[in-house]
Amino acid sequence: MVRRWTLVMTALCGVTLLADPAGLLHSLAATVTPAASATRSHPAAAGSQSRPARAPTSSAPQASSSQAPGPRTPSAPATTLPASTPAVPAAAALSPRNANYSIDADLDPSRHQLRGREVITWRNITRAPTREVRLHLYYNAWRNTRSTWLRERALVRPPLDVSRLGPDDWSGIDIVALRLLGAGSAPPIDLLPAARFIAPDDGNPDDRTLMAVALPTDVGPEGTINLAVEWLLRVPRTFARTGRIGDFYFLAQWFPKVAVLEDAGWVSHQFHASTEFYSDYGTYDVRLTVPTGWVVGATGLPQPAPAARDNAVTTRFVQDDVHDFAFVASPHLIEHNARFEHATLPAVDIRVLLQPEHAGQAERHVAATRATLKYYGEWFGAYPYSHITVVDPAWQSGAGGMEYPTLVTAGTEWLAPARVADPEGVTIHEVGHQFWYGLVGNNEFDHAWMDEGLNTYATGRALEAAYPPFHDSVRFFGDFVPWVFRHVLLSRETDANRMRRYRPDARSDVPATPSWQYHPATGRNLTYAKTALWLHTLERYLGWPMMQRVMSTFFARYRFKHPTPDDFFRVASEVSGQDLTWFFDQVHRSSNVFDYGIASLVSGPSTVSGSIDAAPGQANANAATAQAATTQAATPQAPRVVSQQREDGVYVSTVTVRRYGEALFPVDVVTTLEDGRKIRERWNGLERWISYTYRGPHRAVSADVDPDRVLVLDVNRTNNSFTLAPAGQRAANKWTLTWVIWLQDLMLTYGFFA
């Protein structure tokens, strides 16, 4: 059925629609089957057993198969198809496939425009009927400075300098036609008069990123509708990683996309500066027309034999079980193909589309992609698609470092030293999003940490597993010339987890806040960094084998679904066999910071003062810290009174540990004695401080709280240790001397002008 549908859509949309879109939409409407009627009764309504709202049931594949995307024409004769039309094999449905798109897009670079036509076949998989459908029109976020996106972006420093934008640099998506395709021979219903822009988040009347379309009738549970949409897109200079620079076009969020309906209603937000997207899974069958000679990469597999006409080529891409579609088009991309093979994981074809100036870095992109597929596959679960495309975006495109199903953008520099983590870091991160975002499709509007945070954590782990430590580096002279610090190695704990970004914004928002309500300037530091830090903390708390089980269970359970934070928390507690609510309360439901430190370490000869009974060791001492002891003249009668009398060969060491932060975590406290022996204590970390005192023949020389760095979230590692032989002076001397040379050189540099 899917196969037939795709063939018909190719014949209709790919050829005729281009010539006469309006007329063909009408033709399309005439071919809609009765099965595509606007409403259908839901089993739940008839008293059948209910099911989780977002989970595909065992019947989902069947439903998907019988309700393949787009209008179907069972009667359409195969002989009407062009001979070159390729056959697309039907695949077993992995996802609910309830939001399916058949799109024709014609890119006109000379006008920076794209004309698009689509038929959205949407199925209501909730338990409740709906009488409206909501469409995301993301490209209106950069229509003018009144949009919510740009208003929020203005809060971020440095601000976007819109004064430098020309008239062609703004974007916009205008719906030209919007029709509900009727069943059978019923004429399509024009829905455009019933469409309106809504702003449920902030009431901004000037925001046009979300459209509510009233339907003439309810769409009941399991009911399906077909919406035919035509639109005109103005492609801007890149905003939010979509747009153009020169003749490099990267288009994402470029088509009207239906929002997600859940049992509680539409989960639809305007486009915000600090969050991303959320959509249902489906099949995308997209025909992209670009000028002849341009290279196209897109979500999905390109079908063979592109159709050429009038200096343009139409390439068809088909992909099942994804929730978005993006593409790149440019005449300058060079292609590098490779393959990922693994003993237990399915093979994946890797296609890297590179800028010519980065041709020498093809293998670095491939190696990073392979590493991701390998480690993520082994740790979490297999990558189910047969292919992946990695796009190296053009300089200044602003499109780098973004994920879309089966297609990602990486990012590198012309001068990219081997031991610096670009392009490896960004490539692993974006390919890793195939797992956390692509396969586990969380709601990025509200819970952005579930993909960005989990993936940042996993990225750090994969980088650590696949490569030796990378070096720190800076770029000089307009950010063109790199300089590698060969003795400054980056660590997973601090650098990959982005502690530097988390620390200043640790208290800026409670992570449980819907992500779109995070402050735009600081939200991403919680989304990415804090999540990675607490996941790494959890890994060290539970141990990697257990953590791996948690992650892989969560992955397996919520693949092709839309999990919530509670789903993750529930899996973590269930798999680990312990109630971790206390931990998630700390890291997710609070903005408290973790900071444990050694407040003091005192170690010296045991002394005693006061009234001492005859029997030794019965001192009523009140001080044990003095270094010099003086003994009063002994009196023959007991008890005797002494002042700081030293006990030969006995030392007393006292360690005081403090909780400087508000957040709680059990920590180990290790005291090291001068003979090398270590005394380890376990503190639950609940009180504000705790003190440990040891008596024995050896002094204590140092103390550490959380010496194994389990609590990666601790914002201050410096105070975690205390030594009686501190090297602070030496360290200060060293770095002061180093710094002085820099200042001398700076003075001499400016001395040129004197």
Partner: protein
């Protein structure tokens, strides 16, 4: 040479440059004194930084890591609580990165933080004060007692400050008007729709070269003005600068060549420092060695600056005397130095014959007579137009 606009031969310029090197080397004590001054100027802020580091590390064992090298665990934490001085302790201060960092910031028009700018201003004021003595020392090419040296410094300081103000205004215009025009407006326009980083890089390099040449040409005018201001004991900074422009009209290429030779020497020094400079992981004796290498680099850099100054002075003296560039110059004491208490008698020519020799050697020394005033003679041959004083 002095009477011709022709570019001096390469060997003759090399000879002048070599003479500059010889004079700078003979002024080794001066070089070391200037190096010491860089240390002293940096010292107050260094103490502030050291105090902040000591406070930060306290009794923490993480200081052991800091002794071994830099990692972001301790450095980020220090930076998070650091003041303006502490925030300048970045990986970029390590070894040759410091050189790149500083040059890059200047070329990109990114000024230092206000605290660091204060140290730079102090250094430039110190240098301005010393310039008179330095030029005297290089011009005379003989050891000067400190009283002589500082007498020369004091004698010229206010004129040099006035010249410095002119230079400051000029550079302010360069960095506030021309730099943005080149690197914001022009570079922005040239690369606005550019999608190839390599092309943008070469555009930027071209603009760097244009900007550096512009700054170099401007600095040449002030360099020569300083030399003329001191050697001719001019009182007008503007006059000295205008005279410098006239001199450069005939001798600009030669001075530029001398500057470029100095720049080449600096480039070689950069390469050596890049190879030998500390990487930040040195400890113990290696750290001592790294510091010594770095300070040797600073000394060499000061030496190169003096070498260029000495070469310009030499060239100017030869041009003034109409000598062949390879001829030795015997320069009399400057009036300022002679004005120093106790020096006048010691440097007074002992006989009429000696006075006559002095007049022959130094046209300016003859009864404070300035050749350009008569509009004839040797000065008139390479300096056209009138000058103001």
């Amino acid at each position: 040479m002095a009477s011709s606009r022709s570019f001096p031969s390469i060997p003759s310029l090399v000879a002048v440059s070599r003479e500059g090197a010889r004079r700078a080397t003979r002024a080794a004590r001066l070089v070391l004194a200037l190096w010491l001054l860089t240390l002293l100027t940096a010292l107050p802020l260094a103490l502030v930084l050291r105090g902040a580091l000591v406070d930060h590390f306290g009794s923490s064992a993480i200081a052991d890591e800091a002794v071994r090298g830099l990692n972001h665990t301790w450095w980020d934490e220090f930076e998070a609580g650091a003041d303006a001085v502490g925030k300048t302790l970045t990986p970029s201060v390590i070894g040759f990165a410091a050189v790149l960092d500083n040059v890059s910031h200047v070329l990109d028009g990114e000024g230092p933080s206000s605290v660091i700018a204060g140290a730079i201003v102090v250094w430039m004021l110190v240098w301005t004060f010393l310039t008179g003595g330095i030029i005297e020392r290089l011009a005379r090419d003989r050891r000067m007692r400190s009283t002589e040296f500082f007498a020369a410094c004091g004698g010229y300081v206010f004129r040099l400050v006035r010249l410095g103000i002119i230079a400051g205004v000029a550079y302010w215009l360069v960095f506030r008007v021309i730099h943005p025009a080149l690197f914001d407006t022009l570079y922005g326009a040239l690369t606005r729709d550019l999608a190839v980083e390599r092309t943008a890089f070469f555009i930027r390099v071209a603009l760097y070269i244009i900007f550096a040449l512009l700054v170099l040409l401007l600095e040449m005018t002030f360099d020569v003005a300083r030399v003329r201001l001191v050697i001719e004991e001019r009182r007008s900074a503007i006059g000295a600068w205008l005279a410098s422009l006239r001199f450069l009209r005939r001798h600009g290429l030669a001075i530029l060549a001398l500057d470029l030779l100095g720049a080449a020497a600096l480039f070689v020094l950069f390469l050596l420092y890049a190879l030998l400079g500390t990487r930040g992981a040195a400890t113990g004796l290696w750290l001592v060695g790294a510091v010594l290498v770095s300070q040797a680099y600073v000394i060499a850099r000061i030496w190169i600056k003096l070498q260029v100054m000495a070469a310009v002075v030499t060239y100017y003296q030869q041009a003034l005397l109409g000598l062949d560039p390879e001829a030795a110059v015997v320069w009399p004491e400057s009036p300022s130095a002679e004005d120093a208490p106790g020096l006048r008698a010691r440097h007074q020519p002992t006989s009429e014959g000696a006075r006559e020799r002095t007049r022959e050697q130094h046209p300016c020394a003859a009864g404070r007579e300035r050749p350009r005033r008569n509009g004839q003679g040797r000065m008139g041959s390479w300096e056209s137009g009138s000058s103001s004083r």
